[in-house]
Subunit: 158 residues, 2 copies
């Protein structure tokens, strides 16, 4: 029941991008360095996200990536679904290659999976990248007042 690295790295990378794109396009090697993720692996993830419109690319020297929309319009559910496919605990409630059950309306187990699926989606579709940025700035500010060094570059390995 874990997300794969695709979803986890992808969200961290998008959050990094949201925090750092004010100066213009952010090259992948910077994100890869800060987040400690292989650059060539990130390339693949960004290719997928670019096709989905989540990021825009600027080619050539001094190029890089920009968010495809304002950060308060990008929900983390969009990111996770783009990279992981539909988020669901079982195929029969995923709407993708949905191998329809024989008697879905009467399947109580299926109803459980639906509830889990819906509760996950409710969480990820209520949080935007902007929410994360605001939260990070709040933490940094509180730590600054306490005299704690800013460690916000250090991310979870999650």
């Amino acid at each position: 029941m874990k997300l794969s690295t695709r979803g986890r790295y992808g969200l961290r990378a998008m959050f990094d991008l949201a925090m750092n794109q004010s100066q213009g396009p952010v090259p992948l090697n910077e994100i890869a360095g800060r987040q400690n993720i292989s650059e060539s692996y990130l390339e693949q993830l960004f290719a997928i996200m670019r096709k989905a419109g989540l990021v825009k690319s600027v080619r050539g020297a001094y190029g890089g990536y920009l968010l495809g929309a304002p950060s308060d319009k990008i929900y983390i559910g969009q990111i996770l679904r783009t990279l992981e496919g539909n988020i669901a605990p079982a195929d029969c409630v995923s709407n993708e290659d949905a191998p329809e059950c024989l008697d879905a309306d009467a399947c109580v187990t299926r109803m459980i999976w639906e509830k889990i699926r819906d509760s996950i989606n409710q969480v990820v579709d209520s949080i935007t990248l902007e929410d994360m940025v605001r939260q990070q700035k709040k933490i940094d500010h509180e730590n600054y007042k306490k005299g704690i060094e800013n460690n916000s570059a250090i991310q979870c390995n999650g």
Copy 2:
């Protein structure tokens, strides 16, 4: 972000047991047959659940398995956690082999994983096997009134 067959088969098997244990111990081959799951694979799952106290076994001829507690005391969260390990979208919020983050309190991404984890657990820890049994009986009764044949033996492949 899928559950493995351990959790899915396990829940289906436990639900099956809850529906059928009124006549005494239920042998695995019956559950395996009804749920279309390999009997030897089910053996492994039941061994794990027996050690966790979720089921009791009765050996010998006419033996089989019984629930380890009344069905309204067995939450599906217990079943899933026993078979799958802690339910969490990322290792850093799983409390298991938790490789603690460098600066967990300041990691916004981690907070997202916590929210997802908590929302899943809230669902699975609020539903008991008895809830599922009641729901199934309700469906069967409604279908009976409508003159629809009872298909409750047919389970999702989920």
